[in-house]
């Protein structure tokens, strides 16, 4: 990484900006901009998040926003209402209030003396979501959006659900937001009212999980904020970026297909991080790439970016299975438009253990141990820790496995593989999991993609219905989009299972699925070679602005383990992490955090599943010492989910608050 110190324009930062809203609420902002912006106004690039600009995202903000400022933009980080140093309460993710506030923020930015009147939005994850959501509200000043690792469909591709199943990471996410929402503003910025603001934040509204579980099917809760409901609402150009190792890359493809505005898509090998520092590498000069986008759409400077292919992706090469990759080998390839007519489905029949040969006769059954999925990694990996899928071999015995013959030549795919199944189940509720892998010559198996379907959602995610045991259902399982080269000498494997812990929550009872072989098949989106790929201009080497100045006071660690007790059979996926403690020198503010996670299940009992989280956050300056401890547990009964939450907060040694929550919610076919 090249740290850039010299810029065309000299940079300054405003740390204590408060943006007044019509209802009197003030949102806190930090703005990096050229020192001469008043004289030579610049476009603003807004990143609008609940993750605390002051200490939450300050590390990554430091390597991003000053860079934009140096090239003649104002990098603007705003704390969403009720978070960081902003006033008010945040009641849920992606609320209409958040968008309304965003519209006001954009209007406010556009009329600042230092602003040219043009505003862009950039963001990853939450900030990628609300970039799209606010674009759909069409604020006049918003001229372009860069959305990374986000979704256009909050039910199809977010941390709540996948194929109508409940993602275990949803509980993790709820616990994480619970731990963030209960943190205080910085007294140095907001003054004496900080304590009351903090107390106000620690109310019932902070444990969003309780309400989320009221929405387990695709209802209006999920339609709200899903821009796929009306792509035409978006009128400004959109650059959608994602990574194959991330949980959100499907949206890039749907956006390219659905949007009518000028648009581009980029998918690298990355997990849930910005591409100039994401793992697995290779990273790219993402700031330079986005400057070409901003120059084009916010400044009207022709950079040629729109003359390039609409979609560029990293075609991944085969690799041995690993929980962590420094880089993934591969190459950049492109498609002029998406969907691409060049890509056609290659159909592969299921035989008795074979794939791509003659279709088998009859039925094969599968009832997986509930621990199948132990090597699946996480729904949304961050790539910095060992959270990617491991060797899939150990799952084979608990799955129905179909292997192709050894490939006689390379085969490339780009897009979503699809499994068509005629299947029956012996229980009213069952899941099917389809894992596409590559079998290496030594027997190691690397996951390429996967998809899941809650069979009660076979006729749509809005209206689940119980399975009639024994009835043959025709269903489609759509796997996550990917670009992969299956290499000559390897095999393609499709593995079907009924469980995928700790990715998805299991059905109430262990089901047996019976797959009718000759009416089922796999379709792989086969991509023919494209000679022009060789001429694709390379991305520039990665650059950033200088890192945040901070002092580490306590080193962190992260320990991931899978522990199984031979006596009980219970398998526990554990993570014990200390993010350490560090002092941010510019504001003399010391923050620390620690967390523990446990996702345990017994292979023979789906009702044994339990997901537990514990988070601790600390904030210190001088005599001030604040500590917030939050905990979340979720387990399930036959008919209900049971969610529990705990909160304790301390000022010095004094307990400020102690609260507990418990709620039972019907499972609603999950």
């Amino acid at each position: 990484m090249t740290i850039r110190k010299d810029y065309p324009r000299q940079i300054t930062v405003m740390r204590d900006v408060f943006i007044p809203l019509k209802d009197g609420t003030r949102l806190a902002a930090q703005i990096w901009l050229p020192v001469d912006a008043d004289k030579d106004p610049v476009p603003a690039i807004l990143e609008y998040l609940p993750y605390r600009k002051r200490d939450g995202t300050s590390e990554r903000d430091a390597v991003t926003h000053p860079y934009y400022a140096g090239f003649g933009y104002a990098g603007v980080r705003v704390d969403i209402r009720g978070t960081g140093d902003s006033e008010g309460i945040l009641y849920d993710e992606y609320s209409k209030q958040e968008q309304d506030d965003g519209l006001e923020v954009i209007a406010w930015l556009a009329k600042q003396k230092w602003c040219s009147g043009a505003v862009g939005m950039i963001g990853i994850s939450w900030g990628g979501f609300n970039g799209l959501q606010i674009a759909a509200r069409r604020p006049k000043a918003l001229k372009a959006v860069v959305t990374l690792c986000s979704t256009d469909d909050r039910y199809a591709d977010d941390i709540h659900a996948m194929g109508g199943t409940l993602l275990v990471d949803k509980v993790s996410w709820g616990a994480t937001m619970f731990s963030i929402l209960t943190t205080p503003p910085d007294p140095a910025l907001v003054g004496d009212k900080w304590r009351q603001m903090w107390l106000d934040r620690m109310g019932d509204h902070a444990l969003w999980l309780l309400d989320w579980h009221e929405h387990l099917r695709r209802d209006s809760f999920f339609e709200h904020g899903s821009v796929c409901e009306n792509y035409r609402a978006i009128k400004c150009p959109v650059y959608a970026v994602g990574g194959w190792a991330d949980g959100y890359s499907n949206a890039v493809f749907r956006l390219l297909k659905g949007l009518k505005v000028p648009r581009k898509g980029l998918v690298g090998p990355w997990a849930h991080k910005y591409p100039h520092f994401a793992k697995p590498g290779p990273q790219i000069g993402f700031l330079q790439e986005t400057l070409r986008w901003w120059d084009k759409w916010l400044k009207g400077i022709e950079t040629g970016i729109m003359d390039e292919p609409m979609l560029r992706v990293w075609m991944q090469d085969p690799v041995p299975p690993r929980r962590y990759y420094e880089t993934r080998p591969g190459r950049w390839v492109a498609e002029d438009v998406w969907p691409s007519k060049r890509i056609k489905p290659k159909r592969m029949a299921f035989g008795h253990g074979t794939l791509g040969g003659k279709a088998g006769k009859g039925v094969l059954s599968i009832s997986s141990p509930e621990t199948v999925g132990q090597t699946a990694g996480r729904f949304c990996p961050y790539g910095l820790e060992p959270d990617l899928p491991d060797d899939q071999r150990i799952e084979a015995g608990g799955s129905l496995v179909f292997d192709s013959p050894v490939l006689e030549e390379d085969a490339e795919m780009l897009g979503a593989a699809i499994v068509q199944l005629e299947v029956s189940a012996d229980k009213p509720n069952a899941k099917v999991v389809a894992v596409l892998s590559e079998v290496l010559p030594d027997g190691a198996v690397t996951r390429v993609s996967y998809g899941v379907l809650n069979l009660t959602h076979r006729n749509g995610h809005a209206a689940p219905e119980a399975i009639r045991p024994g009835e043959v259902m025709r269903v489609t399982v759509r796997l996550n989009e990917t670009a992969h080269r299956f290499a000559k000498g390897n095999r393609i494997r499709m593995a079907l299972s009924t469980a995928y812990w700790p990715i998805i929550w299991p059905s109430p009872e262990t089901a047996t699925l019976s797959v009718h072989l000759d009416r089922s098949r796999l379709e792989i989106p086969a991509r023919p070679s494209r000679p022009e790929d060789k001429e694709l201009a390379p991305f520039l080497p990665r650059e950033s602005s200088p890192p945040l100045r901070q002092t580490v006071l306590r080193d962190g660690y992260s320990h991931w383990s899978i522990e199984q007790d031979f006596a009980t059979g219970v398998m526990d996926h554990k993570r014990d992490t200390d993010d350490g403690e560090r002092r941010i020198e510019e504001i003399d503010w010391t923050v620390g955090s620690r967390s523990r996670r446990s996702n345990a299940i017994n292979p023979h009992d789906p009702l044994s599943a339990r997901s537990s989280y514990w988070n601790e956050k600390t904030y210190k300056r001088g005599d001030l010492s604040l500590r917030i401890v939050t905990g979340v547990d979720m387990c399930a009964e036959l008919e209900h989910f049971v969610i529990e939450g705990r909160l304790e907060a301390y000022e010095g040694e004094r307990e400020v608050i102690r609260r507990e929550w418990k709620k039972k919610v019907p499972r609603d076919y999950v």
Binding site: Y324, R393, E395, G397, G398, G443, S561, Q564
Partner: protein, 683 residues
């Protein structure tokens, strides 16, 4: 189960009963003697596990019962153990056998004895009963050998198929701790310190020696009665269980012995058939009594007109880490080997087992070094220890599997399946593990039996021969004997893997095994249904009243496997805290603690490490002694490095320390320079 407190004979317990050997050594014994004017036979059990405080529970369950039925029982502390003089330098030494010959003569000459002596024992005591019988002491008329072996190399705790069992170091570590305990001052008086000092002076890890003998050499032939079955003239009743690791010896003994012999193989682990889990238990004491009455009292109990072998045929059961009881039924064979048992041949085709060979593309497997974790523990001590194999599906994914069609009829296996394989390996040192599984219609995979072969011993166990690399070789793997019914609708699965951790010490490099379909075959010993089987009955369990024991600290067990996701390090930790008990009738308190950990990186067999810890404590009279032994086995380069240390404390104060270190070449280094480095070893 019936606990019987009154017997046909009143029982006199003599403890200590001293036997002075010709070299002056005093051997401590407990004798349970029927009170009668008639001379009685004597059955000897001679083991190193401390009769006063080690085996007292099972001794009191069993021996007074036998004495109450007219057979005296002598429970003897081997020289150097318990309260006996001298030192114990290794297992099954000629000295031990010679001592037994003298002891047998002693009892034969005792005025209250009828001159007919038996020997009986489980495990060590089963081994030495056979070994002593092979020396033909004239008074020894019959033995009962349980959970033992006739071949110390093939079927004991050290090696299996030429591969090194990890239990070797664990067992030696236990003996290291045990041999550091003193005799009981309540029995030997003031001499206890001097006797103890002699023991401590020689207490070393026996594994130092065992690792020096990786081949089936003279060391292992000594004490292996299979070398000359004809040497045994005493009648032999061989007893074992399928869940134990010693049942292979029973069919071999029945086939090999020329002396009268009978065999019983039940569903049990490494325990007497009247005790422990899994059941069903049988009235072993009654059965043994019939044996003794026939051979030692000349009474006709009918036992010799009964079938040669009675064996348990286990039903198909879902996998569990331990079983209270097994489902199944008893069958009998008039002869062994039995002409009734036929052979089914199945060929290893492309991922399927079939009656006719079919060719196809070459198949390969390179198991991670940690494959085998779900296969249970060698030795299967049963009871409530969760050491049995669990669902094999994860293991099947790490192996090359061959599935049969669903069975059209029940299939009954009795005997040893044998695999004849043509395959190549890409390393000069390679081990192949063959597992035969019963696959339920829902996919659950249950281990039926398994066998292993260190391919360097494919031409015989006497000498290692490096495998030629990437050249087809032929070898045979004999799976462990088994009695099992596989039901109609289930499939048979044969799984081949190249690693078996934590049961076998790993080869130094990951190995890829390649084989062409249709060129290897599996012979299954098939027993047709037989109408006579339903007559087989055993008496219900009876025992004498249990020893008076107070549990001061209850026992606990943990069996944990932990994968560090970041490094790929697997750590298996087996902990048993046996707690603390007080034997109220003799004012002795004992405690014991065992912790065995097995660590290895999934892809780096050279990272393998076993650390075994055993702690024992004894409070009796003025003795307040605790011993703690730790043994560590790992690779150092291509050599095996054993390190051990012993700490002995008196009343908490460190009194004695010893340590040792032995480096052994197991895989000759030059063997491993032929192979090119493998991609992606380690992370």
């Amino acid at each position: 189960m019936t606990v019987r407190a009154t017997f046909p004979f009143e029982v006199e317990t003599i403890d200590p009963y001293w036997i002075v050997l010709s070299d002056g050594t005093r051997i401590a014994t407990t004798v349970w003697r029927p009170v009668t004017d008639e001379p009685v036979p004597v059955v000897c059990e001679m083991i190193p596990y401390r009769r006063r405080d080690g085996t007292v529970l099972r001794d009191l369950d069993m021996h007074p019962w036998t004495a109450g039925h007219g057979i005296a029982v002598a429970r003897i502390d081997i020289r150097g153990s318990g309260d006996s003089d001298g030192v114990l330098l290794d297992e099954y030494l000629p000295q031990e056998q010679q001592d037994a010959v003298e002891i047998i003569a002693h009892f034969a000459a005792a005025p209250w004895s009828n001159g007919n002596i038996g020997m009986a024992g489980i495990s060590w005591g089963g081994f030495n009963a056979l070994q002593v019988a092979a020396l033909r002491p004239p008074a020894l008329k019959a033995i009962i050998t349980l959970c033992s072996t006739d071949d110390r190399y093939a079927d004991d705790i050290h090696y299996m198929g030429g591969a090194l069992l990890t239990e070797d170091v664990i067992w030696s570590n236990f003996m290291l701790a045990l041999n550091a305990l003193p005799p009981d001052p309540q029995i030997v008086g003031g001499r206890w310190r001097e006797m103890w000092r002699q023991r401590l002076a020689v207490d070393r890890s026996w594994s130092e020696n065992w690792l020096e003998h990786p081949e089936r050499d003279a060391y292992w032939r000594q004490g292996s009665v299979g070398e000359d079955f004809a040497a045994i003239e005493a009648a032999v009743l061989a007893v074992g269980g399928w869940d134990d690791s010693y049942s292979n010896a029973i069919p071999r003994l029945l086939a090999g012995l020329s002396a009268p012999s009978k065999g019983i193989i039940g569903p049990w682990t490494h325990t007497y058939p009247c005790r422990g889990s899994p059941g069903p238990n049988i009235g072993y004491l009654q059965e043994a009594l019939r044996w003794w009455r026939h051979w030692l009292l000349g009474q006709d109990t009918g036992i010799m007109s009964e079938p040669k072998l009675r064996a348990w045929i286990g039903d198909s059961e879902r996998p569990a880490p331990f079983y209270d009881t097994h489902k199944g039924s008893w069958v009998a064979e008039e002869e062994w080997p039995s002409p009734r048992i036929g052979t089914h041949l199945r060929f290893l085709n492309s991922r399927v087992l079939a009656a006719a060979p079919e060719t196809g593309a070459t198949m390969s497997v390179c198991s991670p070094a940690t494959a085998g974790t779900d296969c249970g523990r060698w030795g299967g001590y049963g009871g409530t220890s969760p050491d049995m194999p669990i669902d094999q599906r994860r293991e099947d994914g790490l192996a090359l599997t061959f599935d049969s069609e669903p069975l059209a009829d029940d299939l009954i296996l009795l005997g040893a399946p044998v695999l004849a394989i043509e395959a190549s390996v890409d390393r000069p040192s390679a081990t192949v593990v063959a597992r035969l599984c019963d696959v339920f219609p829902d996919g659950t995979s249950v281990l039926v039996t398994s066998g292993v072969l260190d391919l360097r011993y494919r031409q015989g166990r006497e000498a290692a021969h490096a495998c030629p690399v990437d050249v087809p070789i032929h070898f045979e793997i004999r799976l462990n004997d088994v009695g099992r019914r596989i039901p109609r609708g289930h499939r048979l699965r044969l799984a081949l893997a190249t690693a078996h951790w934590h049961m076998l010490w790993p080869d130094p490099e990951l190995v890829t095994l390649s084989l062409a379909p249709g060129r290897s075959r599996l012979s299954l010993p098939i027993r047709p249904p037989h109408s006579g089987d339903s007559h087989i009955r055993f008496e219900p369990v009876e025992t004498a009243p249990p020893a008076p024991v107070s549990v001061l600290v209850p026992a606990t067990e943990r069996r944990i496997v932990e994968d560090d996701v970041g490094t790929g390090l697997r750590k298996i930790v087996l902990t048993t805290d046996y707690g603390t008990v007080r034997f109220d009738d003799r004012a002795i308190e004992t405690s014991a603690f065992a912790r065995d950990s097995f660590t290895m990186l999934h892809h780096a067999p050279l990272s393998a490490c076993i650390e075994s810890e055993y702690g024992l404590a004894l409070v009796s009279g003025e003795a307040d002694i605790a011993s703690r032994a730790v043994s560590i086995l790992r690779y150092e380069g291509n050599t095996l490095l054993l390190q051990w240390r012993l700490e002995v404390r008196e009343a908490g104060v460190l009194l004695h320390q010893a340590a040792g270190r032995r480096q052994v070449v197991r895989h000759r280094y030059e063997e491993h320079q032929t192979g090119s480095p493998k991609p992606d070893e380690g992370r």
